[in-house]
């Protein structure tokens, strides 16, 4: 006699006549001969082979001159809590020649840690292509006709790592850490040197003037907490108040701010070359010090010590940034932005937790992130205690 697993929660098990099948959208998971109550959520995704053939059909429509289009090695890439990332190889025949390339699809998730517009990210990456290393963009679909949800397609950059554990702990990367640190800082300065007006970035949100950068971001993230918080947030509310009383000096320049520039969001080759900057969905116009500070916050100091991004001493980061950008690192402003950065990350986690609790996603990552806000609160209080 076969053994079927018992229900996970006492009293939740209900004998089923359905037999040993599994389904995922009704609030009940039938496992073996029992029904186990599960969180309500979005429909279970279709099998991978279905997605592969739908991508092929999509590419046939996009590449009418090509024939023999085959999609292979479709894989979902871990991470990317704000948008699903799928990698695949596509082979085709074009003008008589065989073509093979790696592509990436960034598809809207069922729910996310961030409610962002994929059109926004696509246009920013398109605008900065050539000025800083980013993947080449191809197509964007703003409805779900082709793949159920909106998505965009871009080129894949091979031979690189984004995962901080590998970039910082894989011995292949040890000799190149200094180069990575240098390129990381140089590219940040180049992002801040991009002229939004002449680069087609005027559609981005931004403050009315250089003096309004800090308040604009405080208001933006406090609104996220207002909207998504599931419980009182004394630490975050107290810190928001502190920030409102200690706004930074006007930005030296209103620049393109990546807003998620950190170790974990670049693709580095083992020789230390950074070949791609990722995750532009929060990009906006603002104070360059916001990016400098975000790169510095403790959560990105992956080695558990004080090295910025696990890469370099803070003083070295500041020195190189000043050299490459021509801007002065205003330490008072950085402290303001560093405090706000930790609050912003807490807000992002809270949004994910809200999605999970509301049943818009079953991703355990969202639940997990929501349970880690307390360490960010600890950091926020450390910064407050230090007078920030």
């Amino acid at each position: 006699m076969g053994f079927s697993p018992a229900p996970l929660g006492a009293g939740d098990g209900v004998k089923s006549n359905e037999g040993p099948v599994a389904q995922g959208q009704s609030g009940r998971l039938i496992t073996g001969w029992f029904q186990v109550r599960i969180l309500a959520g979005p429909p279970t995704p279709p099998p991978m082979t279905t997605l592969e053939s739908r991508i092929e059909a999509y590419l046939r429509a996009k590449l009418p001159a090509a024939s023999e289009i085959v999609v292979a090695n479709l894989q979902r890439i871990p991470g990317g809590a704000s948008r699903e990332t799928w990698s695949f190889d596509v082979t085709r025949r074009e003008n008589g020649a065989a073509v093979k390339e790696g592509l990436i699809i960034r598809r809207d998730p069922d729910a996310s840690v961030l409610e962002t517009d994929r059109d926004h990210e696509f246009r920013v990456v398109q605008a900065v292509y050539g000025a800083v290393p980013v993947p080449r963009t191809y197509w964007i679909e703003t409805d779900g006709a082709a793949l159920d949800r909106p998505f965009f397609v871009m080129g894949r950059i091979d031979g690189c790592e984004a995962n901080p554990t590998r970039v910082l702990m894989d011995p292949r990367y040890f000799p190149s850490r200094e180069r990575i640190a240098c390129e990381f800082t140089d590219i940040l300065a180049r992002i801040h040197a991009i002229d939004p007006a002449s680069s087609g970035l005027e559609f981005l949100d931004g403050p009315a003037d250089a003096g309004g950068c800090g308040l604009a971001e405080v208001e933006k993230w406090e609104a996220v907490i207002d909207h998504d918080s599931l419980e009182p947030q004394p630490v975050l509310r107290g810190a928001f108040r502190w920030l409102r009383h200690h706004l930074p000096p006007p930005a030296q320049r209103i620049a393109l701010v990546h807003a998620d520039y950190r170790t974990g969001n670049f693709l580095a080759a083992p020789d230390g070359e950074i070949k791609g900057i990722l995750d532009w969905e929060m990009a906006h116009l603002g104070d360059p010090m916001e990016d400098v500070a975000w790169a510095c916050i403790r959560p990105w100091r992956w080695l558990g010590n004080e090295l910025i991004g696990g890469l370099m001493e803070r003083s070295e980061f500041y020195r190189m940034y000043e050299k490459f950008s021509g801007l002065k690192v205003d330490e008072d402003a950085v402290r303001f932005w560093e405090l706000l950065g930790n609050i912003k990350l807490a807000a992002i986690f809270i949004t994910g937790a809200r999605s999970f609790t509301d049943g818009r996603t079953r991703s355990p990552l969202m639940a997990f992130l929501g349970r880690n806000v307390n360490r960010l609160e600890l950091e926020i209080m450390d910064l407050l205690e230090a007078g920030v």
């Binding site: 979902r76 004394p234 107290g238 009383h245 360490r375 407050l384």
Partner: protein, 176 residues
């Protein structure tokens, strides 16, 4: 004795590691399994002490709100917003502690008390920005000390990564 909650959760972690992860071929699935393992670890960390933590936390917040009543009733803080805050705190602590040890009921009590604490802290940040009101600042740091204890409790994946040295310092602070 039957396997208790923690033992069962540890069993799930072991099953994930021994039976499931080796069978997972995609990096995405392996990453999801790792997330589950860490989610379970965070549940394990608070399992045994959940009720006790909430009871003692609620007791401490009541004490802080009572202190806030005293601080905001002082003549120096005597104004309309201070009076409203005093009333808010008095109302919050007038509700008797829940007699039950159910986590859901203790959590509801905690949220009600922390909602009042949130308002107090915001008011204290306003005071901190404008003056050096000694009793108010003492209360501010008492509140942060309490919140710091809660923020450092339990297990987080940060503890083995970015917050590793910070958590070592926190543990040595607790020992002192």
């Amino acid at each position: 004795m039957k396997p208790d909650g923690i033992t069962s959760l540890r069993g799930i972690q072991a099953a994930l590691a021994d039976a499931l992860v080796p069978e997972l071929s995609s990096a995405y699935a392996q990453d999801a399994a790792q997330t589950l393992t860490m989610l379970i670890e965070s549940l394990v960390a608070g399992w045994d002490t959940a009720a006790e933590d909430l009871v003692s936390g609620n007791r401490e917040v009541r004490r802080l709100l009572a202190e806030a009543v005293a601080v905001f009733s002082l003549p120096a803080a005597g104004n309309e917003p201070a009076a409203a805050l005093v009333k808010l705190c008095e109302d919050a602590i007038a509700v008797p502690p829940v007699a039950s040890l159910r986590i859901s009921e203790l959590t509801a009590e905690s949220e009600s008390l922390r909602a009042a604490l949130e308002k107090v802290l915001v008011a204290l940040e306003d005071i901190a920005a404008g003056s050096a009101d000694v009793p108010a600042m003492a209360l501010r740091w008492s509140i942060y000390a309490h919140l710091r204890g809660a923020a450092g409790a339990g297990w987080s994946f940060w503890d083995v990564a970015s917050f590793r040295e910070r958590m070592v310092r926190l543990k040595s602070e607790h020992k002192r």
